[in-house]
Amino acid sequence: MMLIEYQSQRVSLWYFRLALVLFILQVILGLWLSINYAFTLPQELVNVFPFSTARALHTNLLVAWMLLGFMGGTYYILPPECSRDLFSEKIAYLQLIIFVGAAVTAVVGFLFGWTQGKPLLEIPLPLDWVIVVAALMFIANVAMTIIKAEVRTALQWMLLGGVTFLALMYLFGMPFYQNLNTDYYYWWWVIHLWVEGAWEVVTASIVAYIIMRVTGVDRKVVEKWLYVETGLFLFTGIVGTGHHYYWIGAPDYWIWWGGIFSALEPLPIVLMVVDTWMHVRERKNPIVNPLTWYYIIGLAIYHLVGAGLWGFMHTLPPINYYTHGSQVTVSHGHLAFFGAYALLNLTIFYFAMPRLKGINKYDDRLGKWGFWITTIGMFILGLVFGIAGILQTYLERFLDIGYSTAHLTMMFWFRVAFGVGLVFLAGVVITVYHLFTIRPSNLPAPEPVVAPAADI
């Protein structure tokens, strides 16, 4: 039995599986990083596997698994949105092989010091080009599917726009800039305009699709909110990039523009929470799998707290002057990435994977454990990093105590972080295991009221 409407939707399954494996690897490396903080490692070990290499792995695995999730998610929702199969399944699989091949080469390369040496964008230039090829194949495949479709929806264009924007911004991280301030200026075109621009557009589109399918709320209503949300995301997010330009040797007005626009950045997320909540209330379909709801609501709220509120406080110029480049950033980074994008990917996985396996109603006991352990675990982790960051800020920037002395106080907090991290890893393993072995529930599922997308 198949619950999917088009055979080509099945390509996404491999994207999801690989993404989940990389997710576990990322968390394991995160635990290793916390050990680096919590204990004194012997010089011999530091020489062969330094913190910098482990961090490059941790962050690149994050980007890799999330991009795999986005691409798989796009391939999953595109056929029903376009009422036709993908333009080419072969391109989709070939692109996956190229992308994963580049990622594996990069990981092995990092271990031998093959790096571009830019934090978060460590992948060397030749591999960058390979990734560009994979991205072009992806965009071409998405665009051709949309062009050849007989139906036109706002969601299609939003999705295509989002992934094109994402790929375009990547190019700005590739050249070598002689001037450090220019280097960082364009570095943020990738980092910030991704997470507070392109990724938000993709997120809003995917969330809109899932909400529409799960709740059965009218397409017109959902798409109207999609326009407003995405418009606000881009309005606040683009100039909001300026909150990274306060201390890099840039003109004064960035303080104002960056400060004001980044203070507005939580607005679209608030709207997203309200919007989600309203759609949930006005749903026409019965709840088939409560776990999907957990993830949708969890995503909206966590997104608001981690990215919205934490980011809001941290980027106000008078606060940022003291907290910039401290563990406060680490706290914000973890809560924001988990809250916005890890939960989004898991929402897609929980929406799509059972359907790809022909399961309408699944047994979700393990999945609920996974949900609560990871969400609460990451929240505590964010608080622990936050405490370490506030301590560091106070000692280093207010009491004028040297960096290393201030960092000594962090050893305790990172031992706590390691412990919480272990719990988090357990939650992730449970979630991934549940997704891989998802099986039908014995309870009969209520029949959905709303017909497939083709009829909407």
Binding site: V46, S52, T115, L234, T236, I401, T405
Partner: protein, 238 residues
Amino acid sequence: MTGKTARLIFWLGTLSSAAIFLWQTYDFHKQTPKFTHTDKLTEQVVAGKKVWHKYNCNDCHTILGFGGYYAPDMTKAFYRLGENNIASIVQHPEVMYKNSFRKMPHLGVSETETKQLVSFLRWVGEIENRHWPPQDEKFVEAYKLRESQPQKLDKVHLVLQACGGCHTFENQGRNVGGDLTAIANRITYDRQTLINYMINPQSVRPGVAMPPQDVSPQTAGIIADFILSLKSTKEVSK
């Protein structure tokens, strides 16, 4: 709200923000020479930036506040540490951090690369970035003071700049050679012996690990007075 209004909000928001941003980007490039002194951006500095990338320094250290958060911010490192300290740390981290709870990997940075890296950090230190990071501002001020009026030096600043690369004082500096207050209470040297010791340690205490210091006898005299004053203060306060 109608679908048309929603689309209008989308295009208006996106395009206005993009227009502002692109104009600011143009202006940023126009003003960058002023903020970063591009006239001093020599080949040596660019070579240093490549060294910075080659050893992936930025995934432990932060610079301009961005990077790994695991090791100190390097924006004003030139002022905080000085050329010689940076060189010793980069080339012999296993010695400099022998007693430290945090280690730096031995990367095998060559002498030429070290010089390039120092030029890069010197140039970065001069970027006008609104006195950030705040905790390093005292080192910048001390450095500029030393350059402009060497006769009116604040002793603490002088001592930390000259000796802080190895010695600690009141929680500042690097603990390789011991705390100056503890040393002051241990040694029995008079002023002149202390001056001789700084300029040529072996002549006073053969076999000692401290390298000869490149300071004038006058500067050494100021430092000696300072160290000896630590001693008397301690005794009085007891």
